[in-house]
């Protein structure tokens, strides 16, 4: 029971991070039918951006309040990463629009390799670590000498995720920007006939996806305190798995998928073996896809026209 409660907390925290990344995959797939393989590395870059700004703000500028520093780091990382997302779309994907379907995906793999190597060269190949940032914990209850704890970090991660997802949900469902985005997703040609600038809308999709990845990157940095240039790959693949599991193209599906993957992984590590946690996560994917080929919340291919 104690272990279960603790792992539930840990799993939800990890799942929030996966969910935030998964949205970027699912949105881009929804609008241009492309799997953005570079998205995991965009997440990794954002974690580095977060670390660099954190060090700049706390040591150079001497901001003493950690809360203020973290807030600034979050905003700056979102802005900078959004700029990365915009630039990558412009340089690597837009010129290939109208080309064959696989072209932008191959380009995305290239971008992924580029980003990882760029960070390796500019930041060094070793993992960068900072001293633990927020260390306080709340002990929820204690039994048989096992304390179930909720750390401040976990509270921050879960609440920031919840707030930003709500804001994001509002943008997509209630604003004309979100409406234009959904219109392009459903019928690009018609959206253009109604005066929607499709290229601009696609750019904005990349910008939004990158900004949410930056939230995940900042949270990842805050949680683990260690960032390395290879950190984009595994979380990227997990988040992609989450997007497929939830039903690619579905935004609530991406979040749900992220939480499921996070929980499966943590529980497997706790009860079975930590070495096989990735196997467990991917097995769930395989099993779900056998019985629900379009994912948990994905829509079936056939639709009434």
């Amino acid at each position: 029971m104690e272990v279960f409660a603790q792992q539930l907390i840990n799993g939800l925290t990890l799942g929030s991070i996966y969910g935030l990344i998964a949205i970027g995959y699912t949105m881009v797939f929804g609008i241009i039918g492309m799997v953005n393989f570079a998205h995991g590395d965009v997440f990794m870059v954002s974690a580095f951006i977060a670390m660099i700004f954190f060090l700049l703000l706390t040591t150079w500028l001497g901001i003493a309040s950690i809360a203020l520093a973290l807030l600034l780091v979050l905003v700056l990382a979102m802005l900078m990463t959004a700029l990365w997302g915009w630039t990558l779309e412009r340089l690597a994907y837009r010129p290939l629009r109208g080309s064959f379907r696989l072209a932008p995906m191959i380009s995305a793999i290239g971008v992924a390799i580029f980003l990882a190597n760029f960070v390796q060269v500019s930041q060094g190949a070793r993992n960068k670590a900072v001293p633990p940032i927020v260390t306080d914990v709340i002990v929820l209850f204690e039994r048989n000498g096992y304390a179930v704890a909720l750390s401040y970090k976990q509270i921050i991660i879960m609440s920031v995720t919840a707030v930003l997802l709500t804001a994001f949900w509002f943008v997509v469902t209630r604003t004309s920007l979100g409406r234009a985005q959904r219109a392009c997703e459903q019928d690009r040609k018609m959206a253009a006939l109604l005066g929607i600038d499709v290229d601009r809308t696609i750019s904005l999709t990349f910008v939004l996806g990158a900004a949410l990845a930056a939230v995940a990157g900042t949270m990842f940095f805050l949680y683990y305190g260690v960032v390395g240039f290879t950190d984009g790959f595994i979380p990227g693949v997990k988040a992609f798995t989450a997007a497929v599991l939830g039903g690619i193209g579905s935004l609530p599906g991406a979040v749900l998928g992220g939480l499921i993957i996070g929980l499966v992984e943590t529980f497997w590590s706790a009860y079975f073996s930590i070495e096989y946690k990735d196997v467990a996560a991917f097995s769930i994917l395989a099993i779900v896809l056998i019985f629900m080929p379009s994912g948990i919340l994905g829509r079936p291919e056939v639709e009434k026209v």
Binding site: R182, M190, L194, G195
Partner: protein, 250 residues
């Protein structure tokens, strides 16, 4: 809304002018040099068989596919090379072939999409207007577009086009696959838009009889070329047109 122009001949320069337009799909020519004028305040119809290139012309006016040769002028401005969304922002609206309703948006959201170019300035007013025109849409306002019947989708496509308050309305086969009663309703709406609001309408139809009765002027398209033109009445009485498009077709 501009006042109705009763006599189309008096309206000077055409609102839309298509000159020598050739469109290709890959290497296959779809439009072989089209000349068409639509004057302000007119209903102009384009009739022709399946695959003649009528819908291609409608889309070529919007630059998708783009005309490889020739020019398209709208309100005195060359729009041949403009991106599709910028053409739409010049206040031309289209209810395209296949209706193209956003299936996972509600009827209300579909209508909002129609009003996007003028920043929802008259949204409530225009919503009231189109739902009065098509009461079925009012009942279905919060239902997803994909769940509507064919006729309802057609009404929605027209209503969505009207939400932008277009100066020129392009309608591609609004009667396709609809019950006769609904067809009559839709043709009544088109006539009313023209006579009451003075809206200029370019109508593509296979339902030649209704279209020719409604139109001031008409063109006949056969495999990518205009073969006949004249007033609606002239074409209605033309023996060739009667043989090819009207025989038993009314």
């Amino acid at each position: 809304m501009s006042a109705a122009v009763q006599n189309p001949e008096a309206a000077g320069q055409p609102l839309l002018s298509v000159r020598g337009v050739k469109t290709y799909y890959g290497n296959i020519i779809a439009l072989k040099g089209i000349d068409i004028d639509v004057n302000e305040g007119e209903i102009v119809t384009l009739i022709g068989a399946n695959g003649a290139g009528k819908s291609t012309l409608m889309m070529t006016i919007f630059g998708n596919p783009r005309a490889r040769e020739g020019t398209i002028t709208y309100a005195g401005r060359d729009i041949t090379r403009l991106p599709t969304h910028e053409i739409a922002r010049l206040n031309i609206a289209q209810s395209p072939e296949g209706r193209r309703i956003f299936p996972r948006m509600t009827v209300y959201e579909n209508l909002q999409m129609g009003a996007a170019i003028n920043k929802f300035a008259w949204f409530e007013q225009d919503l009231e207007r189109v739902t009065t025109m098509f009461p079925r849409l009012k009942e279905r306002l919060h239902q997803r577009g994909g769940t509507l019947s064919g006729g309802e989708q057609q009404m929605l496509a027209i209503a969505r086009a009207l939400m932008s308050r277009p100066k020129l309305l392009l309608l591609d086969e609004p009667s396709l696959g609809l019950a006769p009663l609904v067809v009559k309703q839709i043709f009544d709406v088109i006539r009313e838009l023209n006579t009451k609001d003075g809206m200029t309408i370019f109508l593509v139809e296979q339902n030649a009889y209704h279209a020719l009765k409604l139109a001031h002027r008409a063109y006949v398209m056969v495999t990518g070329a205009i073969t006949l033109s004249g007033t609606g009445r002239e074409l209605l009485e033309d023996p060739q047109v009667q043989a090819a498009y009207l025989e038993g077709g009314r």
